[in-house]
């Protein structure tokens, strides 16, 4: 191994380790500060205490996680199922685009979470307002990314397949959709992260189950450790769903700069 190769290897290892090491340092500092400064668990529980709590209350957390997870997946799934066809309508129909696109962008300026109390009023205390909020909040990025993905296609590619006698249907399946997929998945990834926010906010407003509800309960009982445990699990839900999408993307979507 030449000195140059060795330097490169060292550098690569260092870069790979940078983030985990930094995270470990922060956690250790947190742990150390809590023990040495004698901060009460009610103010700031240590990472170790939170971890222990997740372990001891696993069944409770799991039951609420299931609820939140289903709300997120339901809301996001509806947004994806409705958003992509909606984007297609905007792309293919000039009238739909002229009528709806400005409206859509205008509605974007409403902070969707501000609608949560109203949704409770209209849809009650059950699943519906949470799923609907998760849907609303993830719908827009999915629509917009899909439209942008479809519109940014190189027009010459359309001429290419037309010169081969392709119908619009073939053009869509062979060219437009595959070329737009990276952008569509970009919208999905933004959407799933937002859907988690939507579901939890919905639970804050009115709920009898779910991680957001569990947090409210923990707050009222001054159980800060359980509160933190719920935060950790909510993050875990978001990250897990994000990686599920990323796995789908890696399987079905070909990135432009890909090379083997």
């Amino acid at each position: 191994m030449t000195p140059r190769n060795r330097r490169n290897l060292k550098r690569a290892v260092l870069e790979r380790l940078a983030a985990p090491v930094l995270a470990a340092v922060v956690l250790l500092a947190w742990q150390g500060a809590v023990s040495f400064l004698g901060i009460s668990e009610f103010i700031l529980p240590s990472p170790w205490a939170i971890l222990k709590r997740i372990y001891s209350d696993f069944a409770l957390l799991f039951a609420h996680t299931r609820v939140t997870m289903l709300e997120v997946v339901g809301g996001f799934g509806l947004a994806a199922l409705a958003g992509v066809p909606f984007a297609l309508a905007i792309f293919y129909s000039r009238l739909v685009e002229k009528a709806i696109y400005p409206l859509l962008v205008g509605l974007q300026t409403i902070p969707k979470v501000a609608l949560a109390p109203l949704l409770v009023l209209y849809l009650g205390y059950g699943w519906a307002p949470k799923i609907f909020l998760a849907f609303l909040i993830s719908f827009f990025p999915i629509v917009i990314s899909t439209v942008v993905g479809l519109q940014s296609l190189d027009k010459s590619l359309v001429y290419l397949v037309r010169s081969m006698g392709a119908s619009e249907r073939q053009t869509f399946w062979k060219i437009r959709l595959p070329a737009a997929l990276p952008s569509v998945f970009g919208g999905f990834k933004v959407g799933i992260a937002l859907a988690v926010i939507g579901a939890v906010i919905g639970e804050y407003v009115a709920a009898e189950r779910g991680l957001g509800y569990l947090q409210l309960q923990a707050t009222s009982q001054f159980d800060t450790t359980l509160n933190f445990a719920a935060v950790v699990v909510i993050s875990f839900v978001g990250v897990t769903l994000y990686f599920v999408l990323a796995a789908f993307e890696a399987r079905f979507v070909f990135q432009r700069d890909h090379s083997r």
């Binding site: 190189d154 010459s156 590619l157 001429y159 290419l160 397949v161 037309r162 010169s163 081969m164 006698g165 392709a166 073939q170 062979k174 060219i175 595959p178 070329a179 070909f254 432009r256 700069d257 890909h258 090379s259 083997r260």
Partner: protein, 262 residues
């Protein structure tokens, strides 16, 4: 590989685009010419003269504003199955392997893929890319990619091959090789070719006939027969007969003010 060249006839074809403001923008003045089956015709002209427009009209990508385009006596209304196009850029689909890119026309035309896979392999070999079928376009150089684009057009066994400045984006050496390879391949196929370029020497080297177009709105100013024997070797570029043709075309451009001595 055999494919019969088709006859092409352009009758008073014009193209008028519309600007954003709705004003008419003439791109092609009434144009008439005929191409015999198996003839290699190069069209040279300054940029924006409508030579690419002419090509897209023959490919039926846009409707003509007036006139008729006839392939083997039949008026062209929609993309003709016997026409293959090679564009300025390779337009390979980056999410498909080289082989799947080659088979795109077959898929679109609903031909049986299995039957054409063997032909695709043979074509790859012919364009010097044997064994590259499973590679992705991003792994190929610009010249290799344009070779794949050429093979993709040839898999359709086009009786008429339309080439729109296909080597314009390549470096000089790659381009020289491509020009020679194209000649060699065409001598085997002998189909009808319309080759658009702005390079006078490229046109004279490759073509049986060179059509010289005027600046926009384009019109054919000169129809020059190139009767140099084939196969043409590269050193023909220095021969008097070759230079006579290039000078003749250059003089036409000077007359039209496209080229000026200073």
């Amino acid at each position: 590989m055999s494919s019969h060249g088709v006859a092409l006839r352009i009758e008073g074809v014009t193209k008028i685009y519309e600007t954003r403001e709705g004003d008419p923008l003439p791109a092609l003045d009434p144009t008439d010419f005929e191409v015999a089956p198996g003839e290699f015709v190069a069209v040279v002209g300054p940029s924006g003269c409508g030579k690419s427009t002419l090509l897209s009209l023959v490919a039926a990508l846009f409707p003509v504003s007036a006139g008729r385009i006839l392939i083997d006596g039949e008026e062209v209304k929609r993309p003709h199955p016997k026409v293959g196009v090679v564009f300025q850029t390779d337009l390979l689909l980056y999410w498909r392997t080289v082989l799947d890119n080659l088979l795109l026309p077959a898929e679109i035309k609903g031909w049986e893929r299995r039957k054409y896979a063997a032909r695709a392999e043979a074509l790859l070999e012919q364009v010097g890319l044997a064994g590259f079928g499973q590679k992705y376009p991003s792994e190929l150089s610009g010249g290799m990619r344009q070779r794949v684009a050429l093979a993709r057009a040839l898999i359709q066994e086009p009786g008429l091959l339309l080439m729109d400045e296909p080597f314009g984006a390549l470096d000089a050496l790659t381009r020289e090789q491509m020009i020679m390879d194209l000649q060699a391949m065409w001598l085997e196929i002998r189909n009808t070719v319309i080759f658009i370029t702005h390079d006078i020497a490229e046109a004279v080297f490759l073509a049986d006939r060179v059509l010289v177009m005027s600046p926009r709105p384009g019109r054919i100013d000169l129809d020059l027969r190139i009767d140099l024997p084939r196969p043409r070797r590269w050193h023909i570029h220095a021969e008097p007969a070759f230079l006579e043709h290039t000078h003749r075309i250059r003089a036409e451009f000077e007359r039209r003010g496209v080229l000026r001595e200073r």
